[in-house]
Protein backbone atom coordinates (compact mmCIF):
# COMPACT_ATOMS: atom_id res chain seq x y z
CA UNK A 1 0.00 0.00 0.00
CA UNK A 2 1.47 3.38 -0.94
CA UNK A 3 1.91 5.56 2.15
CA UNK A 4 -0.68 8.17 1.23
CA UNK A 5 -3.28 6.14 -0.64
CA UNK A 6 -6.74 7.54 0.06
CA UNK A 7 -8.92 5.06 1.86
CA UNK A 8 -12.71 5.45 1.70
CA UNK A 9 -13.97 7.57 4.58
CA UNK A 10 -15.74 6.00 7.49
CA UNK A 11 -19.08 7.42 8.65
CA UNK A 12 -18.74 10.22 11.23
CA UNK A 13 -18.60 8.98 14.83
CA UNK A 14 -20.94 9.94 17.63
CA UNK A 15 -19.90 12.96 19.70
CA UNK A 16 -19.10 10.57 22.54
CA UNK A 17 -16.79 8.46 20.37
CA UNK A 18 -15.15 11.58 18.94
CA UNK A 19 -14.59 12.90 22.46
CA UNK A 20 -13.23 9.56 23.64
CA UNK A 21 -10.62 9.43 20.86
CA UNK A 22 -9.51 13.04 21.42
CA UNK A 23 -9.39 12.62 25.18
CA UNK A 24 -6.99 9.67 24.95
CA UNK A 25 -4.97 11.34 22.22
CA UNK A 26 -4.46 14.31 24.55
CA UNK A 27 -3.49 12.07 27.45
CA UNK A 28 -0.93 10.13 25.39
CA UNK A 29 0.70 13.15 23.75
CA UNK A 30 3.83 13.26 25.92
CA UNK A 31 6.47 15.51 24.41
CA UNK A 32 4.06 17.25 22.03
CA UNK A 33 3.70 16.40 18.35
CA UNK A 34 -0.06 16.75 18.69
CA UNK A 35 -0.76 17.82 15.12
CA UNK A 36 0.92 14.60 13.99
CA UNK A 37 -1.05 12.62 16.58
CA UNK A 38 -4.37 14.06 15.43
CA UNK A 39 -3.50 13.33 11.80
CA UNK A 40 -2.62 9.75 12.62
CA UNK A 41 -5.89 9.27 14.51
CA UNK A 42 -8.49 10.92 12.26
CA UNK A 43 -6.95 10.07 8.87
CA UNK A 44 -5.19 6.74 9.33
CA UNK A 45 -6.63 5.09 12.40
CA UNK A 46 -10.32 6.04 12.16
CA UNK A 47 -10.66 7.26 8.56
CA UNK A 48 -12.93 10.18 9.44
CA UNK A 49 -11.14 12.66 7.15
CA UNK A 50 -8.99 12.49 4.03
CA UNK A 51 -5.48 13.89 3.71
CA UNK A 52 -6.43 16.86 1.52
CA UNK A 53 -9.11 18.10 3.87
CA UNK A 54 -6.80 17.60 6.84
CA UNK A 55 -3.91 19.48 5.23
CA UNK A 56 -6.23 22.34 4.37
CA UNK A 57 -7.02 22.47 8.09
CA UNK A 58 -3.32 22.44 8.95
CA UNK A 59 -2.73 25.52 6.78
CA UNK A 60 -5.75 27.35 8.21
CA UNK A 61 -4.79 26.42 11.78
CA UNK A 62 -1.33 27.89 11.37
CA UNK A 63 -2.32 31.10 9.68
CA UNK A 64 -5.10 31.94 12.16
CA UNK A 65 -4.28 33.33 15.62
CA UNK A 66 -4.17 30.89 18.53
CA UNK A 67 -2.32 27.68 19.29
CA UNK A 68 -1.96 25.63 16.09
CA UNK A 69 -3.00 22.43 17.80
CA UNK A 70 -6.28 23.76 19.20
CA UNK A 71 -7.12 25.49 15.91
CA UNK A 72 -6.52 22.23 14.07
CA UNK A 73 -8.59 20.41 16.66
CA UNK A 74 -11.49 22.86 16.15
CA UNK A 75 -11.26 22.53 12.35
CA UNK A 76 -11.17 18.74 12.47
CA UNK A 77 -14.05 18.54 14.96
CA UNK A 78 -16.08 20.94 12.86
CA UNK A 79 -15.49 19.00 9.63
CA UNK A 80 -16.41 15.71 11.28
CA UNK A 81 -19.40 16.71 13.43
CA UNK A 82 -20.10 20.45 13.00
CA UNK A 83 -20.00 23.04 15.78
CA UNK A 84 -20.66 20.55 18.57
CA UNK A 85 -17.94 18.36 17.11
CA UNK A 86 -15.50 21.27 17.38
CA UNK A 87 -16.46 21.91 21.01
CA UNK A 88 -16.15 18.19 21.76
CA UNK A 89 -12.69 17.74 20.24
CA UNK A 90 -11.36 20.92 21.86
CA UNK A 91 -12.51 20.16 25.39
CA UNK A 92 -11.71 16.45 25.18
CA UNK A 93 -8.20 17.11 23.92
CA UNK A 94 -7.39 19.67 26.62
CA UNK A 95 -9.11 17.97 29.58
CA UNK A 96 -6.43 15.36 30.30
CA UNK A 97 -3.36 17.52 29.65
CA UNK A 98 -4.70 20.36 31.85
CA UNK A 99 -4.51 18.02 34.84
CA UNK A 100 -1.44 16.09 33.69
CA UNK A 101 0.80 19.10 33.04
CA UNK A 102 0.17 20.34 36.58
CA UNK A 103 1.00 16.88 37.96
CA UNK A 104 4.20 16.81 35.89
CA UNK A 105 5.09 20.29 37.17
CA UNK A 106 4.70 19.03 40.74
CA UNK A 107 7.27 16.26 40.26
CA UNK A 108 9.52 17.89 37.67
CA UNK A 109 12.06 19.32 40.11
CA UNK A 110 12.62 15.90 41.65
CA UNK A 111 12.64 14.22 38.26
CA UNK A 112 15.57 16.35 37.09
CA UNK A 113 17.80 14.82 39.75
CA UNK A 114 17.79 11.43 38.05
CA UNK A 115 19.75 11.29 34.77
CA UNK A 116 17.79 8.21 33.66
CA UNK A 117 14.46 10.02 33.97
CA UNK A 118 15.88 13.13 32.33
CA UNK A 119 17.07 10.97 29.41
CA UNK A 120 13.57 9.48 29.15
CA UNK A 121 12.05 12.95 28.99
CA UNK A 122 14.53 14.14 26.35
CA UNK A 123 14.11 10.99 24.28
CA UNK A 124 10.32 11.16 24.32
CA UNK A 125 10.39 14.87 23.41
CA UNK A 126 12.74 14.23 20.48
CA UNK A 127 10.66 11.31 19.20
CA UNK A 128 7.48 13.41 19.46
CA UNK A 129 8.97 15.98 17.09
CA UNK A 130 9.08 13.15 14.54
CA UNK A 131 5.27 13.03 14.60
CA UNK A 132 5.06 16.57 13.28
CA UNK A 133 7.92 15.91 10.87
CA UNK A 134 5.87 13.05 9.47
CA UNK A 135 2.88 15.38 8.96
CA UNK A 136 5.20 17.77 7.12
CA UNK A 137 6.20 14.89 4.83
CA UNK A 138 2.53 14.09 4.09
CA UNK A 139 2.03 17.71 3.07
CA UNK A 140 5.25 17.83 1.07
CA UNK A 141 4.30 14.73 -0.93
CA UNK A 142 1.35 16.70 -2.33
CA UNK A 143 3.08 20.04 -2.64
CA UNK A 144 6.08 18.87 -4.68
CA UNK A 145 3.86 17.78 -7.57
CA UNK A 146 3.77 21.41 -8.73
CA UNK A 147 6.54 23.98 -9.04
CA UNK A 148 4.96 27.12 -7.54
CA UNK A 149 3.69 25.43 -4.35
CA UNK A 150 7.09 23.77 -3.92
CA UNK A 151 8.79 27.16 -4.04
CA UNK A 152 6.24 28.62 -1.61
CA UNK A 153 6.85 25.76 0.83
CA UNK A 154 10.63 26.12 0.72
CA UNK A 155 10.46 29.93 0.99
CA UNK A 156 8.16 29.71 4.02
CA UNK A 157 10.41 27.17 5.72
CA UNK A 158 13.57 29.17 5.13
CA UNK A 159 12.03 32.50 6.17
CA UNK A 160 10.32 31.30 9.34
CA UNK A 161 12.45 28.29 10.32
CA UNK A 162 15.97 29.25 9.30
CA UNK A 163 15.90 33.07 9.48
CA UNK A 164 13.16 33.14 12.14
CA UNK A 165 11.42 36.08 10.49
CA UNK A 166 8.03 37.01 11.96
CA UNK A 167 5.22 34.98 10.47
CA UNK A 168 2.76 37.72 9.55
CA UNK A 169 4.85 39.59 6.94
CA UNK A 170 6.14 36.28 5.56
CA UNK A 171 2.61 34.96 5.02
CA UNK A 172 1.42 38.31 3.66
CA UNK A 173 4.12 38.19 0.99
CA UNK A 174 4.24 34.48 0.13
CA UNK A 175 0.50 33.82 0.58
CA UNK A 176 -0.84 36.03 -2.23
CA UNK A 177 1.96 34.95 -4.60
CA UNK A 178 1.31 31.29 -3.86
CA UNK A 179 -2.46 31.62 -4.32
CA UNK A 180 -2.05 33.71 -7.47
CA UNK A 181 0.25 31.08 -8.96
CA UNK A 182 -2.46 28.42 -8.72
CA UNK A 183 -5.39 30.73 -9.54
CA UNK A 184 -7.72 29.15 -12.12
CA UNK A 185 -7.08 30.45 -15.62
CA UNK A 186 -10.77 30.64 -16.49
CA UNK A 187 -12.72 31.84 -13.49
CA UNK A 188 -15.85 29.78 -13.20
CA UNK A 189 -17.38 31.58 -10.27
CA UNK A 190 -20.19 34.04 -10.89
Amino acid sequence: MPPSSPAPLNPPPSLFELGRVFFWTGVMSFGGGLSGWIHRQVVHQYGWMDNDDFLSGVALAQVLPGANVTNLCVYVGYRIRGGWGAATTLFSLLAGPTVLCVLVAMVYVHLQQYPVLQACVDGVAAAAVGLNMRLGIVGAQRVIKRVAPTLAMIATFVAVGVFEWPLVPVVLVIGPLSVAAVWPREPRDA
Binding site: Y78, P97, V129, A181
Partner: protein, 185 residues
Protein backbone atom coordinates in the same frame (compact mmCIF):
# COMPACT_ATOMS: atom_id res chain seq x y z
CA UNK B 1 0.66 23.89 48.81
CA UNK B 2 -1.24 27.05 48.21
CA UNK B 3 -4.89 27.41 49.13
CA UNK B 4 -7.53 28.00 46.48
CA UNK B 5 -9.10 31.09 48.02
CA UNK B 6 -7.39 33.55 45.69
CA UNK B 7 -9.85 36.31 45.00
CA UNK B 8 -11.68 37.16 41.85
CA UNK B 9 -9.21 39.86 40.90
CA UNK B 10 -6.47 37.27 40.34
CA UNK B 11 -8.70 35.35 37.92
CA UNK B 12 -9.59 38.57 36.14
CA UNK B 13 -5.90 39.47 35.90
CA UNK B 14 -5.15 36.05 34.37
CA UNK B 15 -7.93 36.58 31.84
CA UNK B 16 -6.74 40.11 31.09
CA UNK B 17 -3.31 38.68 30.20
CA UNK B 18 -4.29 35.54 28.31
CA UNK B 19 -7.43 36.51 26.36
CA UNK B 20 -5.58 39.13 24.26
CA UNK B 21 -2.65 36.71 23.79
CA UNK B 22 -5.10 34.15 22.43
CA UNK B 23 -6.27 36.50 19.72
CA UNK B 24 -2.88 37.81 18.63
CA UNK B 25 -0.97 34.52 18.66
CA UNK B 26 -0.54 34.39 14.91
CA UNK B 27 1.78 31.53 14.07
CA UNK B 28 0.81 29.57 17.16
CA UNK B 29 1.49 29.61 20.87
CA UNK B 30 5.27 30.15 20.72
CA UNK B 31 4.72 33.52 19.02
CA UNK B 32 3.36 34.90 22.31
CA UNK B 33 5.71 33.12 24.74
CA UNK B 34 7.93 36.21 25.01
CA UNK B 35 5.06 38.63 25.78
CA UNK B 36 3.60 36.07 28.22
CA UNK B 37 6.94 35.92 29.98
CA UNK B 38 7.03 39.72 30.21
CA UNK B 39 3.54 39.85 31.72
CA UNK B 40 3.96 36.94 34.12
CA UNK B 41 7.49 37.70 35.29
CA UNK B 42 8.02 41.47 35.03
CA UNK B 43 4.58 43.07 35.06
CA UNK B 44 2.58 40.89 37.48
CA UNK B 45 5.50 39.12 39.19
CA UNK B 46 3.50 35.89 39.31
CA UNK B 47 6.60 33.77 38.77
CA UNK B 48 10.37 34.27 38.57
CA UNK B 49 12.33 34.13 35.32
CA UNK B 50 13.77 30.80 36.45
CA UNK B 51 10.31 29.40 37.09
CA UNK B 52 9.26 30.50 33.62
CA UNK B 53 12.06 28.48 32.05
CA UNK B 54 11.05 25.48 34.15
CA UNK B 55 7.39 25.88 33.20
CA UNK B 56 8.35 26.06 29.54
CA UNK B 57 10.22 22.76 29.87
CA UNK B 58 7.35 21.08 31.70
CA UNK B 59 4.76 22.24 29.15
CA UNK B 60 6.92 20.80 26.39
CA UNK B 61 7.32 17.32 27.87
CA UNK B 62 3.90 16.97 29.51
CA UNK B 63 0.95 15.87 27.36
CA UNK B 64 -0.88 18.60 25.50
CA UNK B 65 0.14 21.63 23.46
CA UNK B 66 3.24 23.59 24.56
CA UNK B 67 0.97 26.60 25.06
CA UNK B 68 -0.21 24.92 28.23
CA UNK B 69 2.52 26.89 29.92
CA UNK B 70 -0.42 29.27 30.46
CA UNK B 71 -2.12 26.52 32.49
CA UNK B 72 0.98 26.21 34.66
CA UNK B 73 1.24 29.96 35.21
CA UNK B 74 -2.42 29.96 36.29
CA UNK B 75 -1.70 27.07 38.64
CA UNK B 76 1.30 28.81 40.21
CA UNK B 77 -0.76 31.95 40.77
CA UNK B 78 -4.08 30.55 41.90
CA UNK B 79 -4.03 26.76 42.19
CA UNK B 80 -6.33 24.48 40.20
CA UNK B 81 -8.93 27.18 39.59
CA UNK B 82 -6.20 29.43 38.26
CA UNK B 83 -5.05 26.62 35.97
CA UNK B 84 -8.58 26.25 34.56
CA UNK B 85 -9.08 30.00 34.16
CA UNK B 86 -5.76 30.49 32.36
CA UNK B 87 -6.34 27.47 30.09
CA UNK B 88 -9.81 28.69 29.11
CA UNK B 89 -8.58 32.27 28.62
CA UNK B 90 -5.77 31.22 26.29
CA UNK B 91 -7.58 28.58 24.23
CA UNK B 92 -11.26 29.51 24.00
CA UNK B 93 -11.18 32.95 22.30
CA UNK B 94 -8.94 31.79 19.44
CA UNK B 95 -10.99 28.60 19.10
CA UNK B 96 -14.24 30.54 18.70
CA UNK B 97 -12.61 32.71 16.07
CA UNK B 98 -11.25 29.62 14.30
CA UNK B 99 -14.69 27.98 14.31
CA UNK B 100 -16.27 31.10 12.82
CA UNK B 101 -13.69 31.24 10.04
CA UNK B 102 -13.91 27.49 9.42
CA UNK B 103 -17.68 27.90 8.94
CA UNK B 104 -17.26 30.72 6.42
CA UNK B 105 -14.43 28.83 4.72
CA UNK B 106 -16.64 25.77 4.42
CA UNK B 107 -19.55 27.70 2.91
CA UNK B 108 -17.52 28.48 -0.20
CA UNK B 109 -16.24 24.95 -0.70
CA UNK B 110 -16.55 23.97 -4.36
CA UNK B 111 -15.82 27.42 -5.79
CA UNK B 112 -12.77 27.59 -8.03
CA UNK B 113 -11.18 30.38 -5.98
CA UNK B 114 -11.68 28.34 -2.80
CA UNK B 115 -9.65 25.53 -4.33
CA UNK B 116 -7.00 28.06 -5.37
CA UNK B 117 -6.78 29.35 -1.81
CA UNK B 118 -6.50 25.81 -0.48
CA UNK B 119 -3.84 24.80 -2.98
CA UNK B 120 -1.99 28.07 -2.46
CA UNK B 121 -2.06 28.02 1.33
CA UNK B 122 -1.27 24.31 1.79
CA UNK B 123 2.45 24.72 0.99
CA UNK B 124 2.65 27.54 3.54
CA UNK B 125 1.12 25.24 6.16
CA UNK B 126 3.61 22.53 5.26
CA UNK B 127 6.54 24.95 5.26
CA UNK B 128 5.47 26.17 8.70
CA UNK B 129 5.22 22.60 9.94
CA UNK B 130 8.88 22.00 9.04
CA UNK B 131 9.84 25.43 10.39
CA UNK B 132 8.15 24.48 13.68
CA UNK B 133 10.28 21.34 13.88
CA UNK B 134 13.46 23.34 13.29
CA UNK B 135 12.52 26.07 15.77
CA UNK B 136 11.61 23.66 18.57
CA UNK B 137 14.90 21.81 18.12
CA UNK B 138 16.80 25.11 18.16
CA UNK B 139 14.97 26.13 21.35
CA UNK B 140 15.70 22.80 23.00
CA UNK B 141 19.32 22.94 21.80
CA UNK B 142 18.88 19.45 20.37
CA UNK B 143 21.88 17.37 19.28
CA UNK B 144 22.31 14.99 16.33
CA UNK B 145 20.73 12.15 18.30
CA UNK B 146 17.47 14.09 18.64
CA UNK B 147 17.46 14.82 14.92
CA UNK B 148 18.16 11.21 14.02
CA UNK B 149 15.44 9.98 16.35
CA UNK B 150 12.84 12.40 15.00
CA UNK B 151 13.74 11.43 11.44
CA UNK B 152 13.48 7.75 12.36
CA UNK B 153 10.00 8.29 13.86
CA UNK B 154 8.89 10.25 10.79
CA UNK B 155 10.19 7.50 8.49
CA UNK B 156 8.48 4.70 10.41
CA UNK B 157 5.15 6.54 10.39
CA UNK B 158 5.48 7.36 6.71
CA UNK B 159 5.79 3.71 5.75
CA UNK B 160 3.68 2.28 8.57
CA UNK B 161 1.09 4.94 9.44
CA UNK B 162 -0.71 2.66 11.88
CA UNK B 163 2.25 2.01 14.17
CA UNK B 164 1.22 3.31 17.57
CA UNK B 165 3.11 6.52 18.37
CA UNK B 166 3.43 5.47 22.03
CA UNK B 167 5.77 2.68 20.90
CA UNK B 168 7.93 5.24 19.10
CA UNK B 169 7.99 7.55 22.12
CA UNK B 170 9.14 4.58 24.17
CA UNK B 171 11.88 3.87 21.63
CA UNK B 172 13.00 7.48 22.13
CA UNK B 173 13.27 7.01 25.88
CA UNK B 174 15.24 3.77 25.44
CA UNK B 175 17.62 5.23 22.85
CA UNK B 176 18.43 8.26 25.01
CA UNK B 177 19.11 6.01 27.98
CA UNK B 178 21.40 3.82 25.87
CA UNK B 179 23.23 6.99 24.87
CA UNK B 180 23.50 7.99 28.52
CA UNK B 181 24.81 4.54 29.41
CA UNK B 182 27.38 4.49 26.59
CA UNK B 183 28.65 7.95 27.45
CA UNK B 184 29.10 6.93 31.08
CA UNK B 185 30.89 3.72 30.16
Amino acid sequence: MREDDSDLSTYLALMAVFVPMSLVAIGGGPSVFAPIQREAVDVHEWITAREFVEIFAVARVAPGPGSMLATLIGWKVAGWTGALVATAALFIPSSIMCLGIAKVWNRYRGHAWHAAFETGLAPIGTGLMFAGVLVIFKLADAGPLSWALAAFVAAVLTFRPKVHPMILLLVGAVVFNLDLFLKAA
